[in-house]
Symmetry: C2
Subunit: 241 residues, 2 copies
């Protein structure tokens, strides 16, 4: 049964889906729906996702959107996906669900609103310093919760797990979008959180080469919207980011 991914690689949940599929040998056709060009607003795409957002998928009869719902579906519907991504054990699964549910009104709300009301603001018509200031508070509180609560226990990954789950993947892709900010802001946000920085590097290692490949777009975005060349940005980035 053919799987179609409707994505824009500028979208962090879209990148999470791509990484997950490539890592787990799930074949798919990638269909780009450019949200800055407002392709998500077309009547054709509305047939795929009435909420007019990427990512969305079509798999046989199933049309689905919301990246966490899609990740859960992938982990259960495709044979051969290792159990650690979304364990069959109900207690372990429930803990992963709690991270995923927490994510929406915390890390996602903070990080996405911050990026969309600053660097991507002009392109999206959403430049808004006040929204950015409010988002910054939520982002900082969320990073602090990841450092002190979700990464509190032993084990490399969220919840003290020894292997990554779909929650690790969703959250790390969310944080990675901060790469489009300038060097000073990246340091300001992530610098205080040593465990978070180590976890990003561990997730990168656990999912490469797909992680770096999916995130290449961020360098292009940064170059395009900050008016500097890719090589300059490469030189600016700390080795672990």
């Amino acid at each position: 049964m053919e799987l179609k991914l409707y994505v824009d690689r500028m979208s962090q949940p879209a990148r999470a889906l791509i990484i997950f599929c490539k890592l787990n040998g799930i074949d798919f056709e990638e269909i780009t729906v450019d949200f800055i060009k407002r392709q998500t607003q077309s009547p054709e795409f509305e047939e795929i996702n009435p909420m007019k957002q990427v990512p969305a998928i079509v798999h046989g009869e199933l049309k689905l959107f919301e990246s966490h719902a899609i990740l859960r579906y992938f982990a259960c519907a495709f044979p051969g996906v290792p159990d650690h991504w979304y364990p069959a054990d109900l207690s372990r699964r429930a803990k992963i669900d709690s991270v995923l549910d927490w994510h929406h009104l915390n890390l996602r709300r903070g990080a996405t609103t911050y990026v969309q009301s600053t660097v991507l603001g002009p392109a999206l018509g959403r430049l808004n310093p006040q929204a950015a200031a409010e988002a910054e508070k939520i982002l900082v509180a969320s990073l602090s919760s990841i450092e002190t609560i979700w990464l509190k226990e032993n084990g490399k990954y969220l919840l003290g797990n020894s292997q990554p789950s779909i929650a690790d993947l969703s959250l790390v892709c969310e944080i990675m979008q901060l790469e489009v900010l300038n060097e000073k802001d990246i340091k300001r946000f992530l610098g205080p959180y040593k465990k978070v920085l180590q976890w990003i590097e561990d997730m990168r290692n656990a999912t490469n080469p797909h992680f770096d490949e999916a995130h290449k777009v961020l360098l292009e975005v940064k170059a395009k919207y900050q008016g500097v060349t890719e090589s300059t940005i490469r030189a600016m980035l700390p080795p672990k980011l």
Copy 2:
């Protein structure tokens, strides 16, 4: 194995959990953690939920928070819960997950922020007409999406289902919190959405007497906070408004 529910009935996801348990014969001990009295901030409760929010549960070794994660866990872990609440079929389950995931940054963000920055504002120290105005836009867009997308198909419940799911329960409890507003505002928000109004009534009938019993608290809240709020808000606004 004993189940403990840490709740405040003023919290709409807490009410959803109580209704679900009563409806499905799941025995539990109800432990009230009053968030207006800041009992959620105590070191004892932090041991239960490090995010310091209700609802949370303890079931044997498992400590869990985030109401959607808890509802999924209840539906899977307790024998005898009818399949329609969270179907084993992966496609049907995925669609319900997509409604639950959509909920956070849409209906929940709109409704909860609106109520907490108006009626409950004085009690929570969050009275904020500007936040209320922004929340109103999100709330209205969310109600419109429920009317035209989630309730689009035939069938009484969300996604065109003939029986309710945990998504119906979570969303209807969210909307029910609007009952603490004054009659004019309730009409302004819900009046235009005839399918939503019918669906609320259908959910009430499907889950009574537990629905009415759990929502009784709203009448008390309304009586306690409403008169106070309107005059407080008016005092905060510039004279010409």
